[in-house]
């Protein structure tokens, strides 16, 4: 019958948690747009190609003249104070890149007083695409310096932009092909009444002292798409030497990703000089203590122990006594 004690359970849980922490760090996250996610929906290639930081812009205001803030695929409800932080950033000369195909960004655009909207329905192209109609190629580019050396861009289940006539300060950067259509009924086939392209899919909006660059697709720069067409060159053109800032406050994250980040934060915390060196000393001290404890001989045989303690006692008598006790037991 195994013996369970609180101490044993506590040690087991502690060891298991260490294993869990190690496994969490070693296993890459699968969150969309995560800089550590090496899979097709991650951003590891993005982080390799350009200088990038992940910060919550609401908490940490970046330098508008030296950075470009990316709001990619927002999956959380965006709050007014976050939009206010973005507004200040743009008005001070910053560039805000909003990439969304769901229509979540419309609330942001409304608060910013911009007339452009994201439709939210999926745009498919049955002629110009990569592998499937859901991954259209965009060849009609008019972005000037933003689309220099960009022959085409590839999108991944994009939507379209709705730009009312007479919108001021709006410049359309890219149109889908004339064969593209908006899949209103969601059957992935062109149906009667569904509008055909060309549709605007990227636009630049002058705002205050800065600019908003709006894409109707959040997936332009994920690992699986960034190397297709001229997507990487487009990214470099947008940055133009600035540092990319990914706003982390717009994503719903997995528990694993949160836990992993916590572990990494703890790791970076204990990497601080004031923790690193005392911790090293502490480990050495603990090892010393364990070694000292381990050096004591283990008492295994009661007769041997007694003889060691009382060398003048009769070993034979003690053994007889032990046998007698054993018989009674």
């Amino acid at each position: 019958m195994p013996v369970l004690s609180i101490k044993l359970i506590a040690i087991s849980i502690a060891v298991a948690l260490i294993v869990l922490a190690s496994a969490s760090v070693l296993l890459p996250p699968q969150d969309d747009f995560n800089l550590s996610n090496p899979y097709w929906n991650g951003y590891t290639k993005f982080s390799r190609e350009v200088s990038v930081s992940v910060v919550d812009v609401k908490v940490y205001k970046p330098d508008p003249k030296a950075t470009v803030v990316f709001v990619v695929g927002p999956s959380l409800n965006i709050t007014e104070d976050r939009v206010e932080a973005w507004r200040e950033y743009i008005e001070d000369g910053g560039i805000l890149v909003i990439m969304d195909e769901t229509g979540v960004a419309n609330y942001v655009l409304e608060l910013l007083g911009v007339q452009v909207r994201v439709d939210g329905h999926t745009m498919l192209d049955p002629v110009f695409y990569y592998n499937s109609w859901r991954i259209p190629k965009i060849t009609n580019l008019r972005g000037g310096s933003l689309t220099d050396n960009v022959g085409e861009i590839v999108m991944d289940i994009p939507s379209i932009l709705i730009i009312p006539d007479g919108s001021r300060g709006v410049r359309i950067l890219a149109y889908s092909s004339s064969f593209s259509f908006l899949d209103l009924d969601g059957d992935s086939e062109p149906s009667d009444g569904e509008p055909y392209g060309p549709f605007p899919v990227a636009a630049e909006i002058q705002y205050g002292g800065g600019r908003i660059i709006l894409f109707s697709d959040s997936s332009l720069f994920i690992n699986g798409v960034i190397d297709l067409g001229g997507n990487l060159q487009l990214l470099k053109n947008i940055l133009d030497g600035r540092i990319a800032i990914l706003d982390s406050g717009v994503w719903r994250r997995t528990v694993h990703s949160l836990f992993r980040d916590t572990i990494l934060t703890v790791y970076s915390f204990i990497s601080l000089p004031e923790f690193k060196y005392p911790l090293t000393l502490s480990v050495l001290i603990i090892l010393y203590m364990l070694a000292a404890r381990g050096g004591e001989p283990m008492v295994e045989d009661e007769v041997e122990a007694l003889i060691a303690k009382h060398p003048d006692w009769d070993r034979r008598l003690l053994e007889v006594l032990r046998e007698a006790r054993g018989r009674i037991e």
Binding site: Q30, D92, V127, S219, P273, K309
Partner: protein, 633 residues
């Protein structure tokens, strides 16, 4: 020992089970929650799908349509659109073959068409024999196009079958293309026929003379000439076209002797020489009787005045500020105009000239242009014999640099504020500017006229280490440079320092343990503690249910030792210690100890201890404790 092994096994099993369970938990938690709308898919795992035939056919037919309109050079562009459509790699060769053949036909037909145009021009100017080799080359191109066309029919069939394209539309276009090739053959034959017919035409000749051959621009020249056949027969009443540098100027008719004479007002072409020619193009009945002819070109030298323009900007050219431009227009005679045109960064100024040709202007430089080199142009108008002239100047626009001093402390404590000050100047000039400092995720703004002071807050959440403080100075006036600098401050967080030092001190205290204790009482206590430790080891020889009795015994030993001063040595047995206590003068204490020793011996050496013995031992220890308490107080 068995129990110990069981414990180890349980510990390992528990760790493994928990680790596995947690690992499964990670795998479960790794998957992102399902989004309400699918926002992307892995492009490489998408199932390949062919383009929609009813749309793809349009891309296939467009190159045909372009070619049938005679725009052969536009065909490659149309085909490149087809090529950029999605074609599975396994079927790419079919499209490649189609586009290659289409390009080939377009190229042959384009060349044939150009050759026939060239030949037709020669035939029209009466040089049919020179056109003949060109037409032979054109016929070769048409033949190649025709041969390729037959291959194209097969390639189109394969393309239509592979991509399920409607064949009817393609066949119609293919037939039209065949007709186009046939049409070009017919044109070729017609041109050859024209050459044959030209062989029987009479050659004509035209010669001209011009007076004067050097003249001021805009002046009048006299052109005289004669038109006759190669046999010397004059051709009266024929229309002669006068050409200057290939452009038609006017027409004149020949007189009874084939001669003609005309006064020509020269256009204001500011060139030093022009070429004058006369051309005869037979019309009506003459078209089937005479060949056309063109005279040799006669060069006429033109005289005109080219003024000289000199410009010079005065001072440093700064964005948002005006600057002075001075210059002059030199001419051997007085200028017929009173202003010059100055072009400077999207603005045009008409600047008035003084009598001596001198001019001065105040030009404004936009404040939003970046530093760099810009072109300034000054143009004079064309006027009569005065040719238009221009002067270009590369002007450097550069803002005045601003010198900045930032005083940051080298060390700061998190949780406190840091006083930062600085100053900026442009040379010796003070200026107004907005100072922005970005530090620890916060932005600090201040309007300043040259000196500033800001308190920077260092939150306690800031970890120890170097923190970057970036500052940007944006001058209000656009002619000063914007400056951005970065400096680092070493921040120390007292909380983290205290926490780590605390942990270290606690560990150090733990390690030093009793070794650091030096008082007499503590030495005695430490000795007892060590002896108790050995007693605990012995206690394991007693059955588990009587171990508490051994604990009582060792408690009694401790009390007795404290009361009598007789300490138990490591080599003493229980009876030896009892005897040692008996020799002291504490009879009552000895009795208590004897009772407890007796009970402990039974617990050690006998499987059973009677209730009476236990009760007596309990009473003895209670008595000992009360005795001890009494003595100590």
């Amino acid at each position: 020992m068995r129990v110990e092994r069981n414990s180890k096994f349980t510990a390992v099993a528990l760790i493994v089970v928990l680790a596995v369970a947690f690992s499964f938990l990670i795998l479960y938690l790794m998957y992102p929650p399902a989004m309400p709308k699918l926002i992307h898919v892995d492009p490489d795992t998408e199932v390949s799908r062919l383009p929609l035939p009813k749309l793809l056919i349009l891309l296939v037919l467009n190159p045909f349509t372009t070619m049938l309109k005679g725009n052969f050079s536009g065909v490659p562009a149309e085909l490149s659109i087809l090529e950029s459509a999605y074609i599975p790699s396994g079927l790419r060769f079919i499209v490649d073959r189609f586009t290659k053949l289409m390009n080939s036909i377009a190229s042959h037909l384009d060349r044939a068409d150009n050759l026939m145009d060239e030949a037709e021009a020669l035939i029209d100017s009466g040089r049919g024999m020179e056109a003949k080799p060109i037409l032979i080359e054109a016929s070769r191109e048409i033949a190649l196009a025709n041969a390729t066309y037959k291959e194209l029919r097969l390639a189109s069939e394969e393309l239509a079958r592979t991509f399920n394209l409607p064949r009817g539309n393609i066949y119609v276009k293919l037939n039209d293309l065949g007709c186009l090739i046939d049409g070009m053959y017919l044109r070729l034959l017609e041109l050859l026929d024209m050459i044959e017919r030209q062989k029987i035409l009479i050659e004509t000749s035209i010669s001209i003379d011009i007076y004067p051959k050097t003249i001021w621009i805009g002046g009048r020249i006299s052109v005289e000439g004669r038109l006759n056949t190669v046999f010397g027969k004059p051709l009266p009443g024929r229309a002669i076209t006068i050409l200057i540098d290939g452009s038609r100027i006017l027409e004149v008719s020949t007189l009874w002797d084939g001669s003609f004479r005309v006064e020509v007002n020269l256009p204001y072409i500011y060139k030093h020489t022009i070429a004058v020619q006369a051309r005869y193009t037979p019309t009506g009945d003459d078209a089937v009787k005479y060949k056309p002819s063109t005279s040799d070109p006669v060069e006429v030298s033109l005289l005109y005045i080219e003024p000289k323009v000199i410009v010079e900007p005065i001072g440093w050219i700064l964005p948002g500020r005006e600057f002075t431009l001075r210059g002059s227009v030199y001419s051997p005679s007085s200028l017929p105009y009173s202003s010059v045109k100055v072009s400077w960064i999207n603005s045009v100024y008409h600047v008035k000239l003084q009598e001596d040709g001198f001019f001065e202007a105040r030009l404004n430089t936009p404040g939003d242009i970046p530093d760099g080199e810009y072109i300034l142009r000054v143009n004079t108008p064309a006027s009569g014999v005065f040719a238009p002239v221009g002067a270009s100047l590369i002007v450097t626009v550069r803002r005045i640099p601003v010198n900045v001093t930032l005083n940051l402390p080298s060390l700061a404590i998190a949780g406190l504020s840091v006083f930062t000050s600085g100053s900026f100047k442009a040379g010796d000039e003070r200026l107004n500017a907005t100072v922005k400092i970005f530090f620890a995720g916060r932005e600090y703004n201040v309007e300043s006229d040259g000196e500033f002071a800001i308190w920077l807050n260092l939150p306690l959440t800031l970890l120890s280490g170097y923190q970057t403080c970036s500052m940007r100075i944006t001058p209000i006036d656009p002619w000063f440079s914007e400056v951005a600098i970065e400096e680092r401050i070493l921040v120390v967080n007292p909380l983290t320092v205290l926490a780590s030092v605390g942990i270290l001190v606690a560990l150090a205290v733990k390690v030093s343990g009793g070794k650091a204790i030096k008082t007499y009482t503590e030495v005695i206590a430490a000795e007892i503690s060590r002896e108790e430790a050995s007693g605990i080891a012995e206690a394991y020889f007693a059955p588990e249910e009587f171990r508490w009795l051994m604990d009582i015994y060792w408690e009694a030993v401790g009390i007795v030792g404290d009361l009598t001063g007789v300490m138990m040595k490591p080599y003493m047995t229980m009876r030896e210690y009892l005897a040692a206590v008996a020799s002291s003068s504490y009879g009552r204490i000895h009795r208590y100890l004897e009772t407890i020793t007796s009970a402990a011996e039974r617990a050690l050496y006998s499987p059973e201890v009677s209730a009476w013995t236990i009760m007596m031992a309990m009473m003895a220890i209670k008595s000992l404790r009360s005795e001890y308490a009494r003595v100590k107080h």
